[in-house]
């Protein structure tokens, strides 16, 4: 028998209220708009890019912005705008893949630890603590050292390093929800643990996970670019923002635009995810509203 248990605050009405609160924050809305534009440009890159991102033209080497090449050309004469658009696709793919991996692995682990307590909690918490003992980028470096370079390996490296954050968050949230009366009532009625976790615990810890997921996207974009900049991520000639900056460093004196432009794009996207994440936190959980 299904029992109409109340207590969830993430129902349709709750979500509508959160959406209205989000729309009332100009900064968060601006961040959301930048993210929407980024996703749109990344998806439409094959149609929007004016040139082939790999097309070399040494006569245009390190050329400044012109009417033909709006953002100029890189060290091999490739069109920076086209590479920027294709690079957006690469970084979007990596960041979404990595955060999805972290959510799919981290949230069930955290849920189990927070709900079951005891040995399960001790085991999972121990694992998470060990992973947290490593600075994230080093964990990613270790993964890259073991598995090698490339887009999929980068997804894995960043995904693994994001798992502890999401597991920790899910554990804390699940612990508090597990003590709620509606969860106790479900247990008393003999509902199975899996059902309780899926129907009552998970929906009530979604808000912090969405917020953290958005903030993790910022970290993922940044980490992917950093690893590619170091030569440990996406390998040339695949267009990627960090790799674009790395390849233009040697020409920083004569063509600073080749270094500055991908960096501005990167900063804008990370800033947008951070601002939107903060806005989501404020609107999804008004009780946790920041003092700042």
């Amino acid at each position: 028998m299904r029992w109409p248990i109340r207590g969830s605050h993430t129902g349709r009405r709750g979500r509508a209220g959160a959406w209205r609160r989000f729309l009332r924050q100009p900064a968060a809305l601006g961040g959301g708009a930048v993210i929407a534009a980024y996703v749109l440009l990344a998806v439409a890159a094959p149609w929007l890019a004016p040139y082939d991102p790999g097309q070399n033209d040494l006569s245009l080497r390190l050329g400044p912005p012109t009417w033909q090449h709006w953002l100029g050309n890189d060290e091999l004469g490739r069109d920076i705008l086209s590479r920027l658009l294709w690079g957006a696709q690469t970084s979007l793919l990596i960041s979404i893949g990595a955060v999805a991996f972290a959510v799919v692995v981290g949230v069930p682990l955290g849920l189990a630890a927070g709900y079951f307590h005891g040995r399960v909690d001790a085991l999972i918490t121990g694992m998470v603590e060990v992973m947290m003992a490593f600075p994230g980028i080093l964990l990613a470096l270790a993964v890259v050292a073991i598995f090698g370079f490339g887009v999929l390996k980068l997804v894995l490296a960043i995904g693994i390093y994001s798992v502890p954050t999401l597991a920790w968050l899910a554990r804390g949230s699940a612990m508090s929800v597990a003590t709620m009366e509606y969860v106790e009532a479900s247990r008393a009625m003999g509902q199975r643990h899996a059902g309780i976790l899926r129907r009552h615990v998970l929906p009530n810890i979604l808000s912090p996970i969405i917020v953290q997921g958005t903030l993790r996207l910022a970290t993922a974009v940044l980490t992917a670019a950093t690893l590619s900049f170091l030569g440990l991520g996406v390998q040339p000639p695949t267009p990627e923002w960090g790799a674009m900056i790395a390849s233009s460093v040697g020409y920083i004196r004569v063509a600073p635009h080749a270094t500055v432009i991908p960096g501005v794009a990167l900063m804008l996207v990370v800033l947008a995810f951070n601002v939107a994440g903060d806005g989501l936190r404020d609107s999804l959980d008004p009780t946790m509203r920041r003092v700042d």
């Binding site: 490593f134 994230g136 170091l230």
Partner: protein
């Protein structure tokens, strides 16, 4: 802490075993014969059962031995120590920079949330966490080294060479520390004891520093010590930009050169120092708030 150290050590041990391919073959010339590979496998102990290899590894580690660098033929741990010192130097400088300016800005903004300092601090905080470290480093090089010719673009050994890497590495933590300090100070500014201090006629500076900030110190300590961890991790990109001969650059070079004992030694040093910083953070907590006890 000991179990965490043990697990980190185990992970570092497993790393070399998880890498596809034979480490002995990687160390040798591609033209090496099977006999030569076999002899090296025996010499490295790779022909032993994994359990024995692990015990041997632990024993060697206790003697400060993490194997021999494939590249230099010297002790991997010995090779990693000088870069580690350089990274520690940079990390300490960046945390001092971030702590000094971050806490300062945070106090100014938190004590008067309606002043202009408040939004300025928030913008600095947001930019600090959003600007890619390596890109900020490049921008600083363009402005201060190439255009103004004020500071060197790379190298180590002088205080001038330390300035740009310190600012680059510290900017992220500066943003986070400023934001947390601002929030913590703003929260306690409304507390009864702050009102009492004001009513007693204590000067505003003393109210903020001696009464408000002292009670807002715990989250600030947390975030400042966490920024050590960030500095250790963030050093990887910063060191590459500024050609700083630190551990991050050393590890990246070792990964690219497939010099796994050096990668192991570097990661071990990083993780160990991170754990030591966490321990020091616990001590700092206890000093800042004597009510916290550790059993």
């Amino acid at each position: 802490m000991l179990p965490v150290v043990l697990v980190v050590v185990t992970l570092v041990f497993l790393m070399l075993r998880l890498i596809p391919g034979d480490p002995a073959r990687l160390m040798l010339d591609p033209s090496a014969t099977e006999q030569q590979v076999g002899a090296l496998r025996h010499q490295l102990g790779l022909d032993l059962p994994v359990g024995r290899q692990y015990l041997q590894f632990l024993g060697q580690l206790l003697h400060g031995d993490m194997g021999v660098s494939y590249k230099t033929g010297r002790s991997a741990l010995g090779d990693a120590l000088p870069p580690f010192q350089r990274t520690a130097e940079l990390a300490v400088a960046s945390v001092i920079f971030a702590g000094f300016f971050g806490i300062g800005l945070g106090i100014l903004a938190g004590a008067r949330t309606r002043s202009l300092m408040s939004p300025i601090t928030m913008i600095i905080a947001l930019l600090g966490v959003s600007v890619p470290t390596f890109w900020l480093g490049l921008l600083l090089i363009i402005v201060f080294s190439l255009r103004l010719d004020l500071l060197p673009a790379g190298g180590a050994g002088s205080w001038q060479a330390l300035v740009l890497p310190t600012v680059t590495l510290g900017s992220f933590s500066l943003g986070v520390i400023a934001r947390i300090t601002r929030t913590s100070v703003a929260e306690v500014m409304h507390a009864d004891y702050v009102r009492t201090a004001r009513a007693k006629g204590v000067s505003e500076g003393s109210v903020v520093l001696r009464h408000a900030f002292r009670n807002a110190l715990i989250p600030v300590i947390t975030i400042t010590s966490l920024s050590f961890g960030y500095a250790l991790g963030g050093a990887v990109a910063t060191e590459t930009v500024f050609a700083w001969p630190g551990l991050g650059r050393y590890i990246v070079g070792a990964i690219l050169g497939r010099d796994y004992p050096s990668v192991q030694a570097g990661l071990f040093l990083f993780a160990a120092s991170f754990l030591v910083v966490n321990l020091l953070m616990d001590v700092a907590y206890a000093l800042a708030n004597p009510r916290i006890t550790y059993r």
